[in-house]
Every structure is written in structure tokens, then in C-alpha cells.
Symmetry: C2
Subunit: 115 residues, 2 copies
């Protein structure tokens, strides 16, 4: 088997940096494709392809407006990623505490240290 499709889930879809840029850009408000092309400096077909991937995993939504298509980020779809990464929060807190403790030990050992 090769690598999983970029459309297999949100984790794969956001692996591409340009798609993350697009998501950030479209989070503020809906925009036509042309705005994305102009603002992010990508080729139009490239943007369309990225939008398709994002749409297939539910990360963006689209509505038609005349001959334009207005896209916007569906933040709800990012939430599971935030929650999954959040399950590690207590671990990096512990790691930080350990670092702090060591720093405090050092301070006790070398009280003359410059602050």
C-alpha cells in the first residue's frame, strides 16, 4: 500500500502547508477562489485542487454566487484535531514542570548566579 489519500481524513488534508494557509485565510470570512489565488500567490488550478481536497474532508464549505464560488473554512472539522493533540497536553505540562524543577535546583546549587 502507498501513503493514504490526502482525502482520507482531516489529518492527511492538513499535512499540506498550502492547505493550511488556505484554511487560515478562509477562516476569517468566505472568499472567492480568485482571492485565494491573488493573496496566497498560487496558480489557480492548484488552488482548485487544494479546495477539492479540503472540501472532500469537510474542512471547507462552498456556495455559489453568480459565476464565483465562495469558500469558507468549516472550523468544526478542525476541532477533532485540536482534541487529539490536546490529549497530550498533560504530558507536555509534566515535561515543562520537570524542566522548571531542574532549573530551580540549579538556582539553589548556584545561588550566586546572575539574574
Amino acid at each position: 500500500m502507498a501513503r493514504a489519500a490526502t482525502t482520507s481524513d482531516a489529518f492527511n488534508a492538513i499535512a499540506e502547508p498550502r492547505r493550511r494557509d488556505i484554511l487560515s485565510y478562509l477562516a476569517l470570512r468566505e472568499r472567492p477562489v480568485g482571492d485565494i489565488v491573488a493573496s496566497l500567490g498560487l496558480e489557480q488550478p492548484s488552488v482548485s485542487k487544494h479546495l477539492r481536497v479540503l472540501r472532500e474532508v469537510g474542512l471547507v464549505e462552498m456556495r455559489r454566487d453568480g459565476r464565483q464560488k465562495l469558500y469558507r473554512t468549516n472550523a468544526e472539522a478542525i476541532r477533532p484535531l485540536h482534541e487529539w493533540t490536546g490529549t497530550f497536553e498533560r504530558f507536555w505540562r509534566h515535561q515543562l514542570n520537570r524542566v522548571k524543577e531542574r532549573a530551580e535546583e540549579k538556582t539553589q546549587v548556584k545561588p550566586k548566579e546572575k539574574v
Copy 2:
């Protein structure tokens, strides 16, 4: 250009479901490779390859213990992902509020509704 390397950053590394499983497994405490193989039911070479990817982007750390190698998750490396996804939190909150508002409107329109 093809797709970015899985080792290009943490976003690409966690796109693979098995690597996410490994990260969760190794977050609790350090483990030898054999434990991962036994617990997650993957082939040993496959686990070694995934661990290499995770190590190259700093998501796991390793120390030798006799003939074993003990791996553990470096939660700090997951933090940037949590923070990036967190930038969308206010947006999904807004979306939720809108859903709630509409639900409340409905309740006013139909006060006889069963609760």
C-alpha cells in the same frame, strides 16, 4: 513536485494513523520496540520505519537499554499542532453559538414543543 516528505514536519508525520497510535501508546511511558509490535499488532520493520519518521521530526525520543531501544513520545513536539488548530477555536465557537441561537429561536416559535 510530489507530496512533501512525511519527515518534513510534524503535520506530515502524524498524517499516518499508525503513527498516531504509536504516539498515544508511547505517551504514557517509554517502551521497547517489541512492546509496540505486540500491542499494536504491526510488523516489526514497519514499526521501526514509523519510529524513524517520528524521531526525525522530534515526535519521539529514544535511549538505549542493553539490546533494547526505549522510545517515548516527546509531547512538546505536538504542542505546535495543538496551537495551530487552536487558532480556529473561536470560529467553531461562533458556529456553535449560531446553532444555539437558531435552536433558541425555534423554541420561541414553538413554545409547546416537548422538552
